[in-house]
């Protein structure tokens, strides 16, 4: 099935192309954890991400190499028995000219919507461990995965990482409010460490297989404890540490069926939901004692 998808992706680039939403151009880097960098003159510009990408680049100097890609699933349904999911991302490099010299690399990322969060640190107060110090982070994705063809620090230059926010530390956005601690670095390190341990942040170097500098594919694992939202997959083509093309596609992660219904009820009709929870409890309590009384009599 996957081989078929791969062949399809190669044979029908337009079909694969249709699955994505177009090339990415990052928004202006907002004031974040990372100081802004000077932008070199020769940075290529990509079409606006909101616009569908035309097959022939409208710019006078078209990119020598472009990425076309597709996903095995453009949506993930969280059902009652949801136990994580694997997403296959495949694609190819489209060229008008012969393969240029040098190493070609591919980076694939999947990113969940961001949420604001607080990182707490415990210290010992009067013998017990208490949350005392905190750092507020304005936005951090609840899930973020990076898969690459090689070690990230060797295939991606820091400037380009800053520009596209590819590596894990770059994904965390601005701190919120006044920073109350002297050194916030251990806090963000802890955030990355905890989320990496529970599988919500992944860095899989070498997990993207690249064939003949043209075809690539990778599998990315989505964990069972997934939050719903509009996820985004990004694919970067790199040469000599510089991004030469980028591509993005949406993955819709949604609760479905009973999960959807209960969640909506709980947030839209909380009183009704609360009464329903009580009814379930009362009925179960009454039913069980009645049933067992009958059993004992029989």
């Amino acid at each position: 099935m996957r081989t078929l998808a791969l062949i399809l992706a190669l044979a029908l680039p337009d079909l694969a192309l249709a699955q994505g939403t177009g090339s990415t151009m990052p928004a202006q880097p907002d004031a974040g954890l990372i100081p802004p960098v000077d932008r070199p003159e020769n940075w290529p510009l990509f079409p606006d991400p909101g616009q569908p990408r035309s097959v022939v680049s409208p710019t006078a100097d078209p990119q020598a190499e472009q990425v076309v890609a597709g996903l095995s699933d453009s949506s993930v349904a969280i059902t009652t028995s949801f136990d994580g999911s694997d997403i296959l991302i495949y694609g190819a490099v489209r060229r008008e000219a012969p393969v240029p010299e040098g190493e070609l690399d591919v980076i694939v990322t999947i990113e969940a919507p961001s949420q604001p969060l607080t990182i707490w640190k415990k210290t010992r107060r009067a013998g017990i461990w208490v949350n005392t110090d905190r750092v507020e982070v304005g936005a951090a994705p609840s899930y973020y995965a990076v898969a690459t063809t090689g070690p990230l620090d060797q295939i991606l230059l820091p400037d380009w990482d800053n520009r596209y926010r590819i590596s894990l530390p770059r994904v965390l956005r601005a701190f919120e409010g006044a920073i109350e601690v002297e050194n916030s670095v251990p806090f963000t390190e802890a955030l990355l460490r905890i989320r990496q341990q529970n599988g919500h942040y992944l860095l899989e170097e070498g997990a993207v297989t690249l064939v003949d500098d043209t075809l690539f594919r990778t599998d990315i694992r989505l964990p069972a404890n997934l939050l719903e939202g509009d996820y985004r997959a990004r694919i970067f083509l790199l040469r000599e540490g510089q991004v030469i093309d980028a591509y993005s596609a949406a993955i819709e992660v949604r609760k479905v069926g009973l999960e959807r219904w209960l969640y909506n009820l709980a947030f839209d009709q909380p009183l009704l939901y609360g009464l329903m929870s009580l009814a379930v409890a009362v009925f179960a309590g009454w039913g069980a004692s009645a049933a067992f009384r009958k059993l004992r009599r029989a």
Binding site: T80, K122, W129, I194, A266, P270, Y273
Partner: protein
């Protein structure tokens, strides 16, 4: 079988949950306790967020106390007037407790306070029960004189006296109201019914006869936990009905097994076992507070 909980947004094994419910059900059948004080810490241990564990724990207690209070109503061992007074206090306390809970959540201390409450109360109750049952064991060997029904103390000098016929009492409504408030606050903060606090208070403080104590406390607990569940559901959307259902399913079956099992074991030994169990849970929670944790940092997400 993994199951994705819609509100907690975590995936857990359905059989683990039913097993937990069943285990606590056996305890409640065996020892005649609601089991809320065991289920909430156990939910912490398997990684359910504390806010959801507490709210859902309250919902689970509704189920187990409904089935208990029905049995007591049949035996006419519920003092409705006393239950009503306790309930009025309980509802006020529960509303207060939910507010306090939300405040604690905002300043990131909810886990600490809930754990501290558990350590203190489980420690006290466990020690009291152990002492009491050891004494009972000794008394069984050396029979001595009967105690008086109840003694007159400061409780009987307060104003606003009311007759509680089923309990055979003529006392002020203030102490039962205060007991109700205290239990309501605990129900909201700890996700427990509070029977383990209320029963000793009713016997020793109010001087109620033992035969109506359990039924009356169950009557009050049913309504206070139901109100707490609603408050948590409406204000903070933290009741997970799927989680509650699995716990209840295991719990009701476990409770019946426990009741049958309890009939075959000796009461004093059972009570020592329960006391040891309560102390064990208390000890585990206390160690978490006092020992250096493996991970000093923790993450809480704000708003959805």
């Amino acid at each position: 079988m993994q199951i994705y909980l819609p509100i907690a947004e975590v995936s857990v094994n359905a059989f683990t949950l039913m097993g937990l419910g069943g285990l606590v059900g056996v305890m409640s059948g065996l020892f005649g306790v609601g089991g809320g004080f065991l289920i909430t810490p156990l939910l912490f241990f398997i990684g359910i967020p504390p806010a959801i564990a507490v709210a859902t724990g309250a919902n689970q207690v509704v189920a187990s106390s409904v089935s208990g209070v029905l049995a007591h109503m049949k035996r006419r061992t519920v003092d409705f007037r006393m239950g009503g007074v306790l309930l009025a206090g309980g509802l006020a306390g529960s509303g207060l407790g939910v507010l306090v809970f939300n405040l604690l959540q905002r300043i990131g201390k909810v886990e600490l306070v809930v754990q501290l409450c558990y350590v203190v109360f489980l420690g006290l109750i466990g020690a009291m029960m152990l002492q009491e049952s050891l004494r009972a064991l000794r008394r069984a060997r050396l029979p001595s004189a009967r105690r008086r029904l109840h003694q007159h103390n400061w409780v009987h000098r307060l104003p606003l006296k009311v007759k509680f016929r089923a309990s055979g009492l003529y006392i002020s409504v203030i102490p039962p109201l205060l007991v109700g408030v205290a239990v309501g606050v605990l129900a909201a903060i700890m996700g427990v019914g509070g029977g383990f606090i209320m029963v000793p208070a009713m016997i020793y403080l109010l001087g109620m006869p033992t035969k109506v104590v359990v039924g009356t406390s169950l009557f009050q607990i049913t309504f206070v936990t139901a109100f707490t569940t609603l408050m948590h559901a409406v204000s903070y959307n933290t009741v997970d009905v799927m989680l509650a259902l699995l716990l209840i399913l295991g719990g009701v079956v476990g409770a019946q097994i426990g009741t049958t099992l309890g009939a075959r074991l000796r009461a004093e030994q059972l009570r020592i076992l329960l006391a040891l169990l309560v102390l064990a849970v208390c000890g585990k929670l206390a160690l978490d507070l006092f020992l250096t944790p493996d991970e000093l940092y923790s993450i809480t997400t704000r708003s959805r």
